[in-house]
Symmetry: C2
Subunit: 368 residues, 2 copies
């Protein structure tokens, strides 16, 4: 049985590793809510299966599935993927899942943040979210990994990026939002992150991706690719509301030293041409009180920065964009010359409000 630990990772010598460090496996959750995923979630399930399949060629994938969809998931997933039963409110393992930490001897533990569906009663995206909030405990129980609870501190994994060497990047739009930890000052939030991720410096961006319903998670606008190296979602179109967000982020990133005093190298990943919901797509979503409507013409927060780094590979989203899909691949090849670059068509994932990074969570490789 996994134990609850009352100290903090910093006190015990644990740190959150970079996503680019070696994984033992990837965790995902099977999508099913029909008020978020169109057509009974079937197209989303196909897309999630494609992502899982792509990752599973490089590392183990565990898919957490509700009782109702268990047989369906077994049927749709390829043979190499492990299925475990786990009730959930939606399928964003990055955000509801555990944030693993590791010590110098390779022992792995995890942070079990409070989860409130991206804003709770203020501007959360659905209610209730109790099943999601239990996901970290259940994942860690399966792995016999002990957890740190954070005394009501609300955080999602997608709202932080770390280099594993003392630096964290986040957006003010998200971490200082009213629906997260409104009673805490910016400094108190920084202190909490320092204790639980064992970092020394927070680099604050103001915004994320325009219209991102997570209050602009950092993992949709940047990706920490290596210590000192960041990929940034970008647009050359100065009339696009995204331009200001990306330009300000760029200025912060190139003018701020990381925890080790390094200047950051910033790669620009141009966003795709605007992705909007079609009439057909909108009509496929169940209308339910209290969940975000998906309306025809709504602009999606599409960004190539929302990729996933697995052992030896980058799994990045494509949008059937004749120009920018290819450009993203080229930039990623330049950033990651030693990894394969694999695109997965991700329109069905962005229609649900996130992308490949949002639906995955890496567990670092520990030493038994």
């Amino acid at each position: 049985m996994s134990k609850r630990i009352n100290s903090t990772p910093k006190q015990d010598g644990y740190r959150m590793p970079g996503e680019f460090e070696e994984h033992s496996k990837t965790w995902m959750i099977w999508p099913e809510r029909t008020d978020n995923w169109r057509n009974g979630a079937r197209p989303a399930q196909q897309a999630f299966a494609e992502v899982a399949k792509a990752i599973s060629k490089y590392e183990e994938v565990v898919m957490c599935v509700s009782k109702n969809k268990y047989i369906n998931a077994l049927d749709m997933l390829p043979a190499g993927i492990k299925v475990v039963e786990m009730e959930n409110d939606d399928s964003w393992m990055r955000d509801s899942g555990p944030t693993f930490v590791i010590n110098n001897e390779g022992k792995v533990r995890a942070n079990d943040w409070e989860f409130n569906a991206w804003g709770g009663e203020v501007d959360g995206l659905y209610f209730p979210w109790d099943k999601d909030d239990e996901v970290p405990k259940k994942v860690c129980e399966l792995e016999n990994i002990d957890t740190y609870r954070t005394d009501g501190f609300v955080l999602e994994g997608g709202s932080i990026h770390v280099d594993g060497e003392g630096t964290l990047i986040a957006t003010e739009a998200c971490l200082l939002s009213e629906g997260r930890n409104p009673s805490m000052s910016k400094k108190e939030i920084e202190d909490k992150l320092k204790e639980h991720l064992n970092i020394e410096k927070v680099i604050w961006l103001k915004n994320g991706i325009y219209l991102d319903e997570t209050n602009e998670h950092v993992d949709n606008i940047i990706h920490y690719c290596a210590p000192g190296v960041v990929a940034l979602a970008w647009t050359d179109d100065e009339t696009d509301p995204q331009y200001k967000f990306s330009k300000e982020a760029y200025d912060v990133l190139i003018n701020t030293a990381d925890a080790k005093g390094r200047k950051l190298k910033v790669y620009k990943l141009h966003i795709p041409n605007t992705v909007v919901i079609t009439k057909e797509e909108s009509e496929g979503v169940d209308s339910v009180d209290g969940t975000l409507p998906r309306e025809e013409g709504d602009r999606q927060a599409a960004s190539y920065a929302n990729f996933y780094i697995a052992n030896g590979v980058i799994i990045y989203p494509t949008f059937n964009d004749p120009k920018y899909d290819k450009l993203a691949e080229e930039v990623l090849k330049e950033i990651f010359p030693d990894r394969e670059i694999v695109g997965v068509y991700a329109r069905e994932i962005i229609l649900g409000g996130g992308n490949i990074h949002c639906i995955t969570q890496q567990q670092p490789k520990g030493l038994k």
Copy 2:
């Protein structure tokens, strides 16, 4: 992902080992249905926790728990027990769970029998039972163990006992009942058991324990203790309806050679003084259409033969019986001189219709 295999264990050289052979772990399911377990199932949960705790001193225990009771189970179980989420219809892992088989190289697979709640639409004990029927698949998926499906053949693990060397003991009352496999002849049923458990001989007892609601499962009246050695539930009271059942079983057992041509050594385990449901106990059970009522004065099918063999230990039920609890312990000590003999007070388990053997399922130790 666990695979489905279309051949049979016999064809592939797998056999069901005796329960007394080495285990890798024990599987259990957390009780919760309030139409079977009194007082919101809380007293039963305490008893199951005691059984799990007793076993966990000797081998790993995994407790499968529904989403609704997950936190409750974590709270009530001691630290050494692993909890996994698994929806279920009730908590009889012996009967709904997989029947593991092993080959000469120590590779483990399992039979996934059809489960119909001890008689389906004929005389099943509850409806529906679909969640129970999925338990073997889910257990094996967690362990990455491949399964044999049996084309609609209905069987519960508690309706068979094997010596691991070619002999199986069962009751006609159960295996030939109308609610199991009515279209199959006795020979066809024997052939199915031979194919799926790799046995050569079935020893048929007529009956099990008087008023046993499972159609008299063999695991309540006898226990295979070692090749050639059987414990038999017994009564000296010739006016007790159980006397005839036990005497006939005794006569069959001492007069039948096993698959290896051995005579069986039969130890008598005298049943406890009659256990009946009290008014208070009956009143604690929710009344629900279609499930077996638990009425004041009902005689329970209490038997010491319903013990569990784990690595180095026997976990046997006690009933607060001043005479026969002690006698059972003495007989078990004689049968198993090299194992510890541990009693667990099991009244709350027998009130639900079974006992310690019924709520446990051993996974044999394989070689990775």
